[in-house]
């Protein structure tokens, strides 16, 4: 059986005349020498870029944290006094009675001692007495003042402003 003839058999490649080996050695040296600075420049550029990259990363992190805080649902904070005001006298009494063992002797003595004059002078009314109950009527207050012989004229204007 005859071997199928290819069209490529009609074409005869001519071997290319190659440059001498020296040419390739010189080419390599030339390329390696001329382009070596580019390689180091590439590395230097990377090193120079690092602080900028770190700074950018830090800004991103801080920004993200602030954004999270900003976006977080705001929690209404209540003061200690307002929580206390919501409790009834009985509830407070109950709590103190059931937890009386949690308090040291010194704490109990300190809590029960009378308020000194010095403290009265340096503190505001609310700091000493807590808060003024809203349900207290003016007549009740006046009655209390009369019974205790408290004359409002004895107080200066600043002291009375606390009411």
């Amino acid at each position: 059986m005859n071997k199928k003839k290819s069209i490529l058999d009609c074409i005869k490649p001519v071997k290319t005349k190659l440059p001498k080996e020296d040419y390739f050695a010189d080419l390599a040296s030339k390329v390696a020498k001329t382009e070596q600075p580019s390689l180091s420049a590439k590395k230097t550029a990377k090193i120079r870029f690092l602080p900028v990259a770190y700074a950018a990363a830090a800004v991103l992190v801080i920004g993200f944290v602030l954004f999270q805080q900003f976006m977080a649902p705001s929690v209404e904070t209540k003061s200690y006094e307002s929580y206390l005001a919501e409790l009834s006298a009985n509830e407070i009494l109950e709590y103190v009675e059931s937890n009386i063992e949690d308090y040291s002797e010194d704490e109990l003595i300190d809590a029960s001692r009378p308020i000194t004059e010095e403290e009265m002078e340096s503190s505001t009314f609310t700091e000493v007495f807590g808060y003024i109950p809203e349900e207290l009527e003016t007549e009740t207050i006046e009655q209390y003042l009369d019974e205790d012989f408290i004359n409002l004229n004895n107080f200066d204007e600043n002291e009375l402003l606390i009411f």
Partner: protein, 189 residues
């Protein structure tokens, strides 16, 4: 990737004096094959050397990007081919006729070639090779144009001789069919 290719790549990636030496070895080994490949496309020595220089600059700067999934020669072949095509595009010389030496010769009286000249046939041949997958193209290049033995190609590509023979056979068939279709020729018996 062959052991030698890996050694060259790793040494060049590390940089320094040894890198230059490794690069020189690589250039001396692959340079002639790549020169022949370029010459076939650009058709003269000066242009081939210009393209080859650009090619080796690219290789020097980008060898760290070569992952070693294919043979080093496949990678070099692709870079070289692209550089040559870019050169031709820039110079607008794709169809120019400025030969320093013949690249192919035609068998006198070969009626299958429809009276076409060597340059027309070479242009068709190059076009046919461009259409091939890289592996087939480079095997065809090394076997047909550079007349290397399968054993030599095996060393370069790290592919078994059997696989190389199959690749060359497929490449030859595809190129023949392309030439026949382009020359409006019926298959030869």
């Amino acid at each position: 990737m062959t052991e030698q290719d890996q050694k060259w790549r790793d040494t060049i990636q590390k940089g320094g004096r040894k890198a230059e030496q490794a690069f020189q070895e690589l250039t001396i080994f692959y340079g002639p094959k790549l020169y022949a490949q370029v010459y076939k496309l650009v058709k003269n020595d000066t242009s081939a050397k210009d393209v080859l220089q650009e090619t080796f600059i690219k290789i020097w700067l980008n060898i760290d990007k070569f992952e070693g999934k294919s043979s080093l020669y496949s990678w070099l072949y692709r870079i070289t081919h692209n550089e040559a095509l870019n050169f031709l595009k820039k110079e607008k010389r794709k169809s120019s006729i400025s030969l320093d030496q013949n690249i192919i010769e035609l068998i006198p009286g070969a009626y299958q070639l429809q009276g076409k000249g060597p340059n027309e046939i070479l242009a068709l041949l190059n076009q046919a090779i461009s259409n091939l997958p890289d592996k087939q193209a480079l095997v065809f290049e090394l076997k047909y144009f550079q007349d290397l033995s399968y054993r030599e190609i095996k060393v370069i590509t790290g592919t078994s001789e059997g696989a190389l023979k199959a690749s060359f056979h497929l490449a030859k068939e595809k190129i023949s069919n392309f030439l026949i279709s382009q020359l409006n020729h019926s298959p030869l018996g």
